[in-house]
């Protein structure tokens, strides 16, 4: 689905794909995937991002899961633990994503198009992705909410893994996490009045966000009184405890230096996620008042 590319993407796709649909200007992945679903012939639609590479057995495993679990309407997989991009931020982000999926409930609460499959019949019945998302955002999560709301089951199959080749920069990470994910997801949760307790929005993760923000505030006050620094450090002890498995995973993947930097980045993630949550709440209230 060529969503208005201006580089050589369409030509590259033409060499490999059975069919390339080209849209004159970018309309967003929700629109593009929906058009793809309309012309697809398969019983199952498998969505994958352009920067994701599947393993030799990925497609077979997806098919196998649907064959052995007729109760399922959708399946999502996981990124692997060997992202090819070598810079620190890419390793941190892609490995964190892998860890979150590998340690979440197999009974999924959301859908995910990085590696996700859904029965075409169900997808069309729900009118596909919400095309009001004009940029890559949480259109997949939103579909997951509707699937669950209608009683369809989604499985997170941790043995279905793909490789995420995205090269993250500081700017792309912040804009993706805040503008494209955290704020719209907050609005979505408030709209559905459904706070899920899974993935990176589990209750321990929410508590860790609050504790980290409080610790930052106390740390700032330590310029006035050094004892506040001790209080800030005390607050971070449970945060480290809740994330012990994650930080151990960082250590195993990249050693002590990588683990330290990744943990610091993870704390920064808590702070900006909390700010994004507040912004999302305000935006939700503003939208309600406008109605």
């Amino acid at each position: 689905m060529n969503d208005g590319s201006t580089d050589s993407s369409a030509e590259v796709a033409g060499r490999f794909a059975d069919r390339v649909l080209t849209f004159p200007s970018p309309r967003g992945p929700a629109f593009a995937r929906n058009r793809g679903a309309e012309v697809a012939k398969g019983e199952v639609l498998f969505f994958i991002d352009a920067d994701v590479f599947c393993y030799p057995d990925t497609l077979a495993k997806v098919s196998e899961v649907f064959a052995s679990r007729p109760d399922l309407s959708a399946v999502i997989g996981s990124y692997d633990n060997a992202p090819p991009a070598a810079n620190f931020l890419s390793r941190y982000k892609n490995l964190t994503h892998h860890f979150v999926h590998q340690n979440s409930s197999s009974e999924a609460s959301t859908f995910w198009t990085g590696c996700g499959a859904v029965k075409r019949e169900v997808f069309l019945k729900l009118h596909g992705f919400d095309e009001s998302y004009r940029m890559p955002s949480i259109e997949d999560i939103e579909l997951g909410y509707r699937l669950r709301e209608q009683g369809y089951r989604i499985a997170l199959c941790k043995h279905i893994v793909v490789k995420h080749a995205k090269i993250w920069t500081f700017r792309s990470l912040l804009s993706s996490d805040i503008r494209d994910r955290a704020i719209p997801w907050t609005i979505l949760q408030l709209y559905y009045r459904s706070i899920i307790n899974d993935l990176n929005v589990s209750w321990p993760q929410r508590a860790a966000s609050i504790f980290t923000c409080l610790a930052v505030c106390l740390g700032a006050l330590s310029f006035w009184n050094p004892w506040f620094l001790a209080a800030a450090a005390a607050l971070m002890i449970p945060v480290i405890g809740w994330n012990y498995k994650l930080y151990r995973f960082y250590y195993r993947q990249g050693g002590a230096w990588f683990c330290l930097r990744a943990a610091a980045m993870h704390w920064f993630y808590y702070v900006y996620s909390m700010l994004a949550f507040g912004t999302g709440c305000l935006q939700y209230l503003a939208r309600r008042q406008r109605r």
């Binding site: 060529n2 993407s9 030799p56």
Partner: protein, 57 residues
């Protein structure tokens, strides 16, 4: 990209798993992209290889 996934009599590549006969549902692979030429070739090549293997088998 539509891939009829491995048939029961399929010759399975080393490391790949045999799929049960009931797993023959047709899978359509949908890849949206925008200015992704840096990634796209590897992504689609990997998919194409799998689809070709499945169809040939």
């Amino acid at each position: 990209m539509d891939a009829g996934l491995p048939r029961p009599s399929a010759r399975v590549e080393k490391g790949a798993r045999q799929v049960k006969p009931s797993a023959q549902g047709l899978l359509s692979v949908i890849v949206p992209f925008y200015n992704a030429s840096a990634y796209l070739q590897n992504c689609l090549e990997a998919l194409r290889r799998r689809a070709n293997t499945a169809i040939m088998n």
